[in-house]
């Protein structure tokens, strides 16, 4: 899916967007588009350019080059007309007021406000509404931040690592209330480093690394891209050249008499092995998880970039 111009249902588009800090390319020629009603995960290792991309989308930073559009206008006007609700890691809360006072204030700034009690309930902060904002725990603060992202009837919700500092139960509640929002036809874009979260919550995943888009597809497509299935078995006296010639093989690893094969077509690989007269024991075939897929995709990118190191990376 590449950039396809402003079309119907298009919520966000990045057209060859770059953000450079001196010689460091935080975002490097990023092109993507989001359509109405999608739940999209932005996935990438630390320093991949996720936060910078979201900052530019929300008009907090200006791209060095390229163009970003939101609802057909520039990001600043989309934000100021109340079309987008956002929750950033770097966003803070006004101290010395209660949760209810803060949510009431931000609701009052919105052209299409949602009733304060609805917001408090959806964000799971109704019980702490009368507490002071500066006396909350990390997880509670995070939920108040989320409340501020949904005070208005917005069309797009942008969340940067929303469930950081939340415990397992809170995280489950969070995604349940998020589904309520999405069910109303809202578009959701979230950055995360919890891969299972991207797998479960998103219907589309964008993998970025070194400020560039590496993969764009459904969780199943992303997993498939990294080389499909893992085939393992025990086989004494293996013939390595023969195994390397098996159909569909992507990689081969032999430890003593245990063989691990990554294969694009695990059925064909296994049948060819059996047809050649081998009788492997303890055969296991499993999917590569999203995590392995993600590591495979970004590792491949890092390898192909090793010849031309990006400035700034030497420091890490």
């Amino acid at each position: 899916m590449s950039y396809s111009g402003t079309g119907p249902g298009q919520v966000v588009s990045f057209e060859n967007v770059s953000k450079h800090y001196g010689s460091l390319k935080a975002v490097d020629g990023l092109s993507l588009d989001l359509r109405k009603g999608e739940t999209v995960a932005l996935l990438g290792p630390n320093g991949a350019g996720k936060s910078t991309s979201l900052d530019m989308l929300l008009a907090l930073r200006k791209p060095t080059s390229g163009k970003i559009k939101m609802f057909g206008s520039d990001p600043y006007h989309a934000v100021k007309s109340g079309q987008v609700g956002a929750m950033l890691q770097s966003g803070g809360l006004m101290p010395e007021v209660t949760v209810r006072e803060l949510v009431t204030l931000v609701t009052g700034l919105h052209p299409r406000p949602v009733p304060v009690d609805t917001t408090l309930r959806r964000a799971g902060v109704a019980q702490i509404a009368e507490q002071r904002v500066d006396r909350l725990s990390g997880g509670q603060t995070q939920r108040v931040r989320f409340a501020l992202a949904i005070v208005g009837d917005v069309d797009l919700i942008v969340l940067d690592e929303p469930t950081t500092a939340m415990d397992v139960e809170t995280r489950r509640l969070f995604w349940a209330s998020m589904k309520e929002e999405v069910a109303e036809g809202k578009t959701l874009l979230f950055a995360t480093h919890y891969l299972e979260e991207a797998d479960q919550a998103a219907d589309r995943i964008l993998v970025i690394n070194r400020g560039r888009l590496l993969a764009d597809g459904t969780p199943a497509e992303i997993k498939a891209r990294a080389g499909a299935k893992q085939l393992s078995f025990r086989l004494g006296g293996v013939d390595e050249p023969f195994l390397l010639g098996l159909p569909g093989l992507v990689s081969l690893e032999i430890r003593n008499d245990v063989v691990h094969i990554q294969s694009r077509d695990s059925d064909a690989t296994l049948y060819a092995l059996l047809d050649a007269g081998y009788r492997p024991k303890e055969v296991e075939i499993g999917s590569l998880g999203l995590e392995q897929a993600f590591i495979a995709i970004t590792a491949e990118d890092d390898r192909s970039n090793a010849a031309e190191p990006v400035a700034g990376e030497t420091a890490s």
């Binding site: 934000v79 007309s81 803070g92 006072e101 700034l109 919105h110």
Partner: protein, 241 residues
């Protein structure tokens, strides 16, 4: 503008719970006035108690505008609250405008209390229009320091703001003749400070002498300088706030 007023209103409610604000802007000038007002005979051509009333009103108004705002802006920038507001439909300048409005509003009680003290304790008497003019001079003068507070708060982290504002404020307070009336060489230096200009305009009004145009122009120039610095600070930090 509606959103900006709503923010200002919330800020105002919040400030009412802040003890530091009351200590500096309300209590300190009152205490000092009670101690010092009757220690002299005259200054700048008016009764000492009248001069000191103006000086203490200036102290309270200016310290509220500078100390209170600078540290809060700096803290709120560090917390990310200013950034959070940028993600809302609040106009881009709404945060700063709300801060200035609240500063203007909270300065009024500190001026009124010192004036009441001047009337009842210090025995200061003047025409109704003179009370109003002097009050407005001090009130508008505090805008200069509110602008400076924005410039400092956007530029420096909270731990640096405290010493910077203290240095600036006490410098302007002493050189401006707020602690004690100036004379000699110190007055030559102090005459260009906004604090001196605000106090001297007021005592000239009280004393019935004509106010030199230079003093009024001086205040305007300070306002322009600090407002300019504020705009530069806000712009310089646009991508990191």
């Amino acid at each position: 503008m509606q959103g900006t007023l709503l923010l200002a209103q919330t800020e105002f409610n919040r400030l009412r719970r802040n003890r530091r604000y009351f200590l500096f802007t309300l209590a300190l000038p009152v205490v000092l006035y009670l101690i010092v007002a009757k220690q002299g005979k005259s200054a700048y051509g008016v009764d000492f108690s009248a001069y000191y009333m103006v000086a203490m009103a200036t102290l309270g108004a200016f310290s509220g505008a500078l100390n209170g705002n600078a540290i809060r802006i700096s803290e709120e920038r560090k917390l990310g609250w200013i950034r959070q507001l940028r993600l809302t439909p609040l106009p881009a300048n709404g945060y700063v405008v709300a801060k200035l409005l609240v500063s203007m509003a909270t300065t009024i009680p500190s001026i009124v209390i010192v004036f009441l003290l001047g009337y009842f304790y210090g025995g200061v008497r003047m025409a109704a229009w003179e009370w109003i003019v002097v009050g407005i001079v001090v009130w508008l003068g505090s805008m200069i320091f509110a602008a400076l507070a924005v410039a400092i708060g956007y530029r420096f982290p909270p731990d640096q703001v405290q010493p910077i504002t203290a240095l600036i404020f006490f410098g302007f307070a002493i050189l401006g003749g707020v602690w004690f009336p100036l004379s000699g060489g110190l007055q030559k230096i102090g005459e260009v400070t906004p604090t001196y200009e605000a106090v001297k305009i007021s005592t000239d009004v009280i004393g019935g002498t004509s106010v030199p145009i230079g003093l009024i122009a001086g205040l305007m120039i300070w306002l322009l300088i600090f407002a300019g610095l504020a705009v530069l600070s806000v712009r310089a930090t646009a991508e990191t706030v």
